[in-house]
Assembly symmetry: C2
């Protein structure tokens, strides 16, 4: 016991996800606590990781429906996107750093493995669609990290493959985030680069980078990669957007 | 931004309470995050601070109904106990360290002031009943602190006054708490002495002591005070208990 608490490092995200799933994914059966490295705490209903397509934002559902062929679901969580793909007959491989998320996906009939970008596990094979849905464009991590992430995904993508993803424009941050954004800019980071971790009980995930890129920042990162930006659509009612990228055929 | 986050010290509890109240006290309209000093995080639905007597545990409702005369509600929060007392015609004074809790209580028609035990604010006057409900026997803080807390409350109590309160037996702690209990015992603290703070957004309350006393520990603390233990009733279905203490007439 100290005044500077150090949680045990472990699968906090997976614990929350599994608790929610084991409780029937009912609203607020588990609470996700996210801590940012300036000590900002936010909470959310973990059942959002199990919502069905009818309840997703229109744009997310629209881009989700454009998946074709064999799909790699990056940051698959509990299978929110992969389960309905499977139901439609797609071959999906889930990827998540959380062993419990992989277990829950498996229980739901989705093949998934533990792993994360940019150091993908061996033996994944090749994919026609790479998915970074559920705001997982954040996994591009930052302008400095994005090239390696995009290259790692291109390396498991077939010629002509598509990458679909959703992200969040950090905007001006409002009163709650303006100081964090300013601190990022002073340190040469992108405005919306977050360093966060998930906390649950005595456990926390390792800190990780999650990038809320502006559409312009995202376009710049893509332009420097093997991928081509086919479309970027902004949600008219939120800071969200979705993208579709393509590899050369 | 550092890897050792230091939140801003402020009225995190009150912010949560007020957000819940402003949202109509609907379930999960605000989430309370409590951090223990070993980094254990727990979450709860803040609407529990606004439940009506019908939804309280039987024992809590029973001891609540024994209040008489002028009442001091220690740790009044948003007025959960004080509002229905007022509705029954009791004169109640709420006391809470949270300015926002005091504001919410005021909006609900309960006179309340900012303050805490054992250094009570001046001018409270004298009371017939002192209430430490909603588990607020925890505010006795620990075996070393309890005498000062009980004395401070006796100092604002009329001869023959009653103290009613509810608490939680820490039991053996189960797997989640056994190590914390053992650490407490090694350091000469009571098994169930918690050092906790409430976190909300970028804000945390100061750390404070909250004592889950066993019934025996509580009886010992009372025996060394001006108060006499009239009754202690254990909840048959939970670790909770309620007590009734009395000052000499």
């Amino acid at each position: 016991m100290t005044t500077d608490p150090y949680p045990r490092i472990g699968d906090a995200f997976g614990h929350i996800l599994a608790r929610c799933w084991d409780a029937g994914a009912t609203p607020w059966s588990a609470v996700e606590v996210i801590e940012r490295d300036d000590a900002l705490i936010s909470t959310g209903d973990a059942s959002r990781y199990f919502t069905e397509p009818e309840r997703w934002p229109d744009l997310e559902r629209h881009v989700w429906a454009q998946a074709t062929g064999r799909i790699l679901d990056v940051g698959c969580g509990g299978g929110r996107h992969a389960v309905p793909w499977s139901a439609q007959g797609h071959e999906v491989m889930g990827l998540d750093p959380s062993p419990e998320a992989v277990r829950v996906s498996g229980e739901r009939g989705v093949k998934a493995v533990v792993g994360s970008v940019p150091s993908l596990p061996d033996g994944l094979g090749q994919f026609d669609t790479i998915a970074l849905l559920g705001n997982n464009l954040g996994l591009l991590a930052g302008p400095a990290q994005a090239p390696a992430v995009l290259a790692s995904l291109a390396a498991v993508a077939r010629p002509g493959a598509r990458l679909i993803g959703s992200g969040t424009d950090p905007g001006d941050g409002g009163t709650a985030h303006a100081a964090y954004h300013a601190c990022n800019l002073r340190r040469g980071r992108a405005r919306g680069q977050l360093r966060i971790r998930v906390r649950d009980g005595a456990t926390a995930t390792p800190w990780f980078e999650y990038w809320l890129a502006t559409p312009d920042e995202l376009a710049t990162a893509v332009a420097e990669s093997a991928w081509t930006l086919e479309s970027l659509d902004r949600d008219p009612t939120s800071p969200g957007y979705v993208v579709r990228l393509r590899l050369p055929s």
